[in-house]
């Protein structure tokens, strides 16, 4: 991972999205900026109200900073093959290292809290004066914080029956609803601080050597999780970080994968393209399932597909486009007008209004993932019925216009990507039938409709005037999602039409080396380049046997990662910094898929198109 050096502490400023690293415990994620400020945390689960949301409003959102007083040169890294973050501050007087993690394992025979966020700062050389400022602002700042020092029971912040308790190895003073401390560490000194969450009877954490044991135990747990990795190609760093980031965004009890850890980080700074991504999109299903299976993470893939199929039973035969980690549709979208938004990007929204849109591509995604599940782990009879019901819905509705992959909030339209995914849904049903499953489907009707959809796409999605597949029937606008046609097995990547389509997209949607706008709407409104589109381009080029070009795009895009290898949803083509919610599972899963494609021979990739 490349090292990035900068100075912090010279003047107050708001850290950018790019400057954050993520830690988590499979239920929640915290973001830590380069200056040691932890300014994003939702407890107890990903979509809970934030206790620290300084990323969205430095004044009202709350943060917890541990870092040196005065300027420091900063470098960061994750400990090898873990989600344990180390931030190294080099000051004129000495060097201190801050270790941040959420504990995922503790072997000691004593009670543990439901959640523990552990921060340990140690001085390696010289002496360093450290400042701690702990300013929780529960419920996005809507709940007034009441900090109660209770001696060895910790500094408590109660919200209803929920308890946040800060324990530390240095005394803190409560001033104006903040806990502050200043202390000097000499070489060899260390101080650990633990923030716990409990809605049950709390456990009081031990610090000192016990904190070090929990750090090591957590490192071991992450490395153990990573041990099934089968990838041994040239992009191991990208693959490892992508897997660990995706795992951070996975809900451990169920296997559900949320899109990103945050809400309302803007797709365009200062604008209103700010959405809540702390939910699970069915759209990501196919890429996620394939990536987990192909990299050797069989249990995670099965858990994810199991969650997917269990969740979708509740709304069968119709699918919502997104669910929370428990499989419930989110409540109505709400704006938080009291928050200033990231660099003035308002409104801040919680929950997601797109959940009620008709997006026909979801059916193809779920059926594709289920087909992979069958090939790798089998399906039970109840799931077969469920899949047949989804197929029935597609048979009855594939001609309808919808809101599509980008969830546009205008009138529904006939979209190429959605129509292709309707084809995928029926194609996968027929594949399952050929394997002796999906016996309830009307074979003739499904085969006939699959052929009709193909004819429909071939006739209406191709625009001879611009020599490209278009985003919407009858239009002349481009969309990078049509590069997925070979991925789903709809069309050979080496076909004349796909070659021409790629040429048009490369000319009109390329935002710079390795970067692509999602479509011409995105270009018009000034969004960033979508990371997932770069992954689609790499996959397309490998399938088209243009390996060198694929490698160039991949390498250029990977250089847009932040200093610890994380990506947001988008990249600003001008600054190459992250935009949108962060870190973004879809971008990382796309990169996993692209790295796998690059590691295979082209003929193998072509065979991997469609389902297994």
């Amino acid at each position: 991972m490349r090292a990035v050096h900068d100075l912090v502490g010279e003047m107050p400023r708001t850290p950018t999205i790019q400057e954050h690293a993520a830690i988590g415990d499979g239920r929640s994620v915290a973001l830590v900026a380069r200056d040691g400020a932890l300014d994003w945390l939702c407890w107890p689960v990903f979509d809970s109200p934030a206790i620290f949301a300084g990323l969205l409003d430095p004044e009202r959102g709350g943060a917890w900073r541990i870092g040196p007083i005065g300027p420091a040169r900063v470098t960061r890294r994750y400990r090898d093959d873990t989600n344990v973050l180390e931030t190294r501050f080099e000051t004129p007087s000495g060097v201190a290292v801050l270790t941040d993690l959420m504990c995922v394992e503790d072997a000691t025979p004593r009670p543990h809290s439901s959640h523990e966020l552990l921060r340990r700062v140690a001085c390696e050389r010289g002496h360093v004066e450290i400042e701690l400022v702990f300013a929780p602002r529960p419920a996005f700042g809507r709940h007034p914080p009441r900090l109660q020092p209770t001696g060895h029971l910790g500094l408590r912040c109660e919200v209803g029956a929920m308890l946040h308790a800060l324990h530390g190895e240095r005394p803190v003073e409560v001033v104006d609803q903040r806990a502050v401390a200043r202390f000097v560490l000499a070489a060899g000194d260390a101080a650990a601080f633990s923030l716990t969450y409990d809605d049950d009877i709390a456990a009081i954490p031990l610090l000192g050597a016990h904190a070090c044991e929990r750090i090591e135990a957590t490192c071991r747990a992450w490395r153990r999780w990573l041990s099934p990795l089968t990838y041994d190609g040239p992009d191991r760093d990208v693959v490892v970080r992508g897997l660990l980031a995706t795992k951070l965004l996975s809900f451990a009890p169920s296997g559900a994968v949320i899109a990103a850890a945050t809400t309302s980080l803007p797709e365009r700074v200062g604008a209103d393209l700010n959405w809540d991504y702390r939910f699970c999109w069915l759209r990501d299903a196919s890429f996620t399932a394939r990536a987990f299976f192909d990299l050797g993470f069989h249990d995670d893939a099965v858990a994810f597909c199991g969650w997917l199929l269990h969740t979708t039973r509740l709304t069968r035969p119709e699918l919502r486009i997104l669910y929370d980690v428990y499989g419930r549709p989110p409540a109505s979208e709400e704006e938080l007008p009291e928050l200033a938004g990231y660099r003035g990007s308002r409104p801040v929204r919680i929950r997601n209004g797109a959940s009620t849109q008709l997006q026909l591509d979801c059916y193809g995604e779920v059926l594709d993932a289920a087909t992979w599940l069958h090939a790798n782990a089998g399906l039970d009879r109840e799931i077969e019925k469920l899949l047949a019901d989804f197929g029935g819905f597609v048979l009855a509705n594939w001609r309808r216009p919808d809101h599509g992959i980008w969830e546009e909030r205008g009138a529904p339209r006939h979209r190429t990507h959605s129509r292709v995914l309707s084809w995928v849904a029926l194609d996968r049903l027929l594949q399952l039938r050929a394997r002796g499953l999906a016996r309830r489907i009307d074979l003739d009707a499904v085969a006939r409709s699959r052929a009709e959809i193909r004819d429909d796409i071939v006739a209406h999605a191709w625009n001879p005037a611009i020599a490209s597949y278009t985003d919407v029937y009858g239009s002349s606008t481009l969309d990078a999602s049509v590069l997925l046609l070979p991925w789903y097995g709809f069309e050979d990547a080496r076909s004349t039409r796909m070659a021409a389509t790629y040429r048009a997209i490369a000319q009109r949607l390329c935002a710079g080396p390795g970067l692509y706008w999602r479509n011409e709407d995105g270009l018009r409104v000034g969004e960033g380049a979508f990371g997932i589109c770069s992954a689609w381009v790499v996959d397309y080029l490998v399938r088209a046997e243009r390996h060198a070009e694929a490698r160039a795009v991949f390498d250029a895009f990977v250089r847009c990662a932040n200093d610890v290898g994380l990506f947001g949803e988008e990249v600003d083509p001008a600054t190459r910094e992250a935009l949108g919610n962060f870190p973004q599972a879809y971008t990382h899963v796309g990169l996993l898929s692209a790295a796998l494609a690059l590691a295979r021979r082209p003929a193998q990739v072509a065979r991997a198109g469609g389902a297994r």
């Binding site: 543990h112 060895h152 029956a161 009877i201 456990a203 009081i204």
Partner: protein
Amino acid sequence: MNVGAWLVWGLGATIVLTTLLAGSQGLGLTRMNLPYVLGAMVTTDRDRAKVLGIAMHVVNGWVFSAVYVAAFHVWGGPAWWKGALVGAVHAAFVLVVVMPALPGMHPRMASETRGPTVVRGLEPPGFLAMHYGARTPVSVVLAHVVFGIILGTFYRA
């Protein structure tokens, strides 16, 4: 003493009491989880402690219901209001006497004044169990009064 009635209504009242306390926790009124406190006496695994604690709590409730039944016999027979009164006294005793003394009895509970230690890491309840949330006494009193009302209403000597 009608042993059959005591066994049936003692169990029924205990199940209602346990459900009310768990419901209070689920609704965010309190963090107190008596089955967990009991189960944590024998295991450090939080999930296992809750399961074991439910069984221990049911047995405890059964035993305590015998005290209610004895009180009814001494007091001229059962009545719902007598049950409520005994329940209120029981709750007050638990909150004022038992809870603050719990760290001295529980092998994994931290002391108010010392620790925590490697073994003793559970948060102590404090006076009126207020460390588990300011509304904890309300849910405890309510649950025990209902416990007593059930016994006073349905137990027949």
